[in-house]
Symmetry: C2
Subunit: 199 residues, 2 copies
């Protein structure tokens, strides 16, 4: 398959790349333009990316900004970092991408456990994760040409568990192989509309 | 209790008003200004509302715009109707209101079954409902002064079931008393961080 991977340089993205590159052709997209440049907060940039890469069988997004901070201090602009980033960035990858993705193609988005299990400081991130989970279930019943969509929703992941340990006390880190398996299940099986919780 | 009710003229809001008015003082807020005017899509308007009404024990929001439409046709602006309305409108009622609400006060927001069970045309509405559900769970663990927050998340409701029947085939309408009981449980018990699904 020809797979468009957005966020290949991130903690999870690097592992996704390593696994999928073993048997698929990967086109890497990022702000700085690995194979192709994209700013997912900008619908025009997303459209240009899809015009530049042709005949894609799967889109995987493993990136998207959102802001942590005490709820008593977060401004409306702080919320909009995640809304324009991890939330509408991923929505627009599907909204615009459905016209470009091949028949039988799949979208795989990324959210996280904070949709279900918040921590202190996560209001703006929980909001975005819950939004994308529900959006994906809804989009799944409307996509045409046998296209599919799923979300990988991991808990704290092993490769960054140490860095975030203080914010996620008592959260069991998921081994990277288990996390990447979520993306593999989404892309290589025929499921759709699923939130693949890696908890 | 002194209760601020936003959206008292809506299908659910009218029923909330009738029940709560039996034993509480209700201040009605709406765009056209019943007791006090508010445009929940505008943070400045929300702040002015809270400054105008004093010593509130509970805030109930039973309103918020969001747009239905085929996923293949929805624009980014269509999504932002719900994002600025039902989503950030309700977030801002809490974000700003936490400074004004009395100690031990409660926020009760409204979402709906489309967060969990989408229908054709609901991507932008499902997104918003899922967002507010996760946001409320997160805000619950950060609110100070013993303030609480819950969400009433009903299925299609009896009073508007006929009008929406074609869009919700096979959905059992919830009796209005059961729906209003969600708001009563949120306001009059001590629960917090709960999504009260009235399915």
């Amino acid at each position: 398959m020809k797979i468009l991977l957005i966020g290949a340089s991130g903690t999870i993205g690097k592992r996704i790349y390593d696994r999928f590159a073993q048997k698929h052709e990967i086109v890497q997209a990022s702000r700085t333009g690995s194979d192709v440049a994209v700013d997912i907060t900008d619908a025009v940039s997303i459209q240009k990316m899809y015009e530049a890469v042709e005949k894609i069988d799967a889109v995987i997004c493993a990136t998207g900004p959102a802001k942590f901070g005490p709820f008593g201090e977060l401004t409306e602009d702080d919320f909009y970092i995640g809304i324009r980033g991890k939330m509408m960035g991923q929505v627009d990858l599907v909204r615009i991408g459905q016209r470009y993705l091949n028949d039988d193609g799949s979208f795989t988005l990324t959210t996280g456990i904070l949709a279900d299990d918040p921590i202190v400081g996560s209001t703006a991130v929980s909001l975005v994760n819950g939004a994308v989970n529900s959006f994906a279930m809804a989009a799944a019943i409307e996509l045409l040409r046998n296209q599919r969509i799923n979300v990988v929703c991991p808990t704290i992941v092993a490769d960054s568990a140490e860095a975030y340990a203080d914010f996620f006390p008592g959260f069991d880190p998921a081994p990277m192989d288990r996390v990447v398996n979520g993306y593999v299940r989404s892309v290589e099986t025929k499921i759709t509309g699923r939130i693949l919780r890696i908890y």
